[in-house]
């Protein structure tokens, strides 16, 4: 239950991070998107997503798609404490999973910030949270075919973060870069985040939330396992931050706080798949590598002329993949077959996400348009779509 609260507060973390790393003229818009995701995500997940994700696959079924009906009603016995392995009830489970589901959409939100049309984004995220995410989820956590293959993803490096990350990647490709992100020669320019303290607070809040994310995914109140999980989670985060900070200091001769922050998140995403399988040393290794991946990943995205304001692709997609594969490399499940299973899982889920989000996004683009007009973008979405200022009493610069 507490873990649910912690996962809930991650949404504050994401909002802060996203606001902080973008320009003030789009702040209201970002908050609106995030509020939409939390509220409607929960409602949609309640309406159908949960039953799509945990349909109760029959023995012997292929476990690809099944839907257990609309709405939520506790199964018989679900109200008792001993539901599933014990330690939590059916209701807790729903809420916890609902918060997870919303996370996938939030990841996309960060990547597409400052230029996506609000209505298109809302439509997209409804479908993605209500349909794509639970289908993928059912393959593993719902007991579907990936689960039967032995694919392991403890708390969602792939099932949550990559699922969000793939959609983010496709979305920024479809959308194109923000006005001013690349100059005529295609050289990337810096569009500065406007409130770094909030972004930093977002990172710490996310770290806090991850205690719930990973700790809660133990799905039982086994204190030994839970506490090990918290230790690995924290150490990976610390190692990710430290290595990203050091590596970027070497690379750019500059103490770059934003890399530090992204490194911490990268470490957290990286450990998520195997948080309960790793020793502290493994966790530090996984985190450190994630930190380096982040620094290179952010640069790579720029090189590809993609525009990802908050670094969502590097953090959630690339580190998500890394984390999932790491289960086959480090820790108590390490092994060549496990690695291949992990790779297969990453590939299948990736393909599915790319295809489904691609179709969805192109359809939206064709049907209703996906990007605001150039003029609205320059003016800022807050004024253009909401007629409201985020900081009415402050004198502001405009970029």
């Amino acid at each position: 239950m507490i873990c649910t609260a912690l996962v809930f507060i991650m949404h504050l973390g994401f909002s802060f991070l996203e606001i902080g790393l973008t320009r003030q003229k789009n702040t209201i818009n970002i908050l609106f998107k995030n509020f939409f995701i939390i509220t409607m995500g929960l409602l949609v997940y309640c309406l159908g997503g949960f039953n799509l994700m945990y349909p109760g696959f029959e023995e012997g079924a292929n476990g690809v798609l099944k839907f257990a009906g609309f709405g939520i009603t506790a199964p018989e016995g679900g109200m008792e404490f001993g539901y599933a392995d014990g330690g939590y009830t059916w209701w807790t489970d729903f809420l916890f999973q609902g918060m997870f589901a919303a996370t996938a959409a939030t990841i996309v939100s960060g990547a597409v910030a400052e230029r996506i049309k609000l209505s298109s984004f809302m439509f997209f995220s409804l479908i993605y949270v209500g349909l794509v995410y639970p289908i993928v989820g059912s393959w593993k956590w719902g007991g579907g075919f990936l689960d039967r293959w032995g694919f392991y993803d403890f708390a969602g490096s792939t099932l949550v973060h990559s699922v969000g990350g793939w959609a983010a990647l496709i979305a920024i490709y479809v959308l194109g870069a923000r006005v001013g992100k690349f100059d005529e020669q295609g050289k990337p320019k810096a569009l500065l985040g406007h409130n770094i303290p909030l972004a930093a607070a977002g990172v710490l809040i996310l770290w806090l939330g991850w205690f719930g994310f990973n700790g809660g995914s133990v799905l039982s109140a086994d204190p030994a396992l839970t506490s090990l999980t918290l230790v690995t989670t924290s150490l990976a985060a610390a190692a990710g931050g430290a290595s990203a900070a050091m590596f970027s200091t070497l690379l750019y001769k500059n103490y770059d706080l934003t890399m530090f922050m992204n490194g911490i998140l990268g470490g957290l995403v990286g450990i998520t798949a195997g948080a309960d399988q790793m020793s502290p040393t493994d966790a530090i290794l996984i985190g450190s590598i994630a930190g380096i991946i982040i620094v290179l990943g952010v640069a790579l995205i720029d090189r590809l002329k993609l525009d990802d304001p908050v670094g969502a692709v590097a953090v959630h997609l690339i580190c998500g993949i890394w984390g999932t594969l790491a289960v086959g490399i480090f820790g108590s499940m390490a092994g060549w077959t496990q690695f291949l299973v992990q790779l297969a899982g990453v590939g299948i889920i990736g393909a599915f996400c790319v295809v489904s989000s691609g179709i969805l996004l192109f359809a939206i683009k064709a049907a209703m348009g996906i990007r605001v007009s150039r003029e609205e973008e320059i003016k800022g979405l807050d004024l253009a779509e909401h007629g409201m200022d985020a900081y009415a009493d402050f004198r502001l610069n405009q970029h």
Binding site: G180, K379, H386, G387, M388, R395, L396, N397, Q398
Partner: protein
């Protein structure tokens, strides 16, 4: 020497800056002001919709030598216009003397 003060739309700033660089006006200062004029902007806040004629503008202050005046004005006029109400104004006034603080130079050679 003349002072050119231009009040423009914030969203046009990048274009105006490029146009000024084009005519080799590379030195100026700017800040943001609130403009009261003809243009109106609609807002909604907690159920109250209102429109205000107080709109954020960018104020450019450019001191140029007399022979640069014309091209500076032209560069701004052509790059800042959108033909919709609210494009702003340019005001020209006289500057009697100018100093470059670094060197103490006087006159128009201090300008760039």
């Amino acid at each position: 020497m003349k002072k050119v003060e231009a009040i423009i739309r914030k969203s046009k700033f990048d274009e105006v800056k490029a146009a000024l660089h084009q005519v080799e006006v590379n030195f100026f200062s700017y800040w943001d002001v609130t403009g009261v004029g003809n243009e109106q902007q609609g807002h909604v806040y907690r159920g109250i919709s209102y429109s205000t004629s107080e709109i954020q503008r960018r104020f450019l202050s450019i001191v140029v030598s007399d022979e640069f005046l014309d091209r500076t004005v032209k560069a701004i006029l052509s790059s800042a216009a959108t033909d919709r109400v609210g494009d702003g104004k340019i005001f020209i006034s006289n500057i009697e003397e100018a100093y470059r603080i670094r060197t103490g130079d006087k006159g128009s050679k201090s300008l760039n």
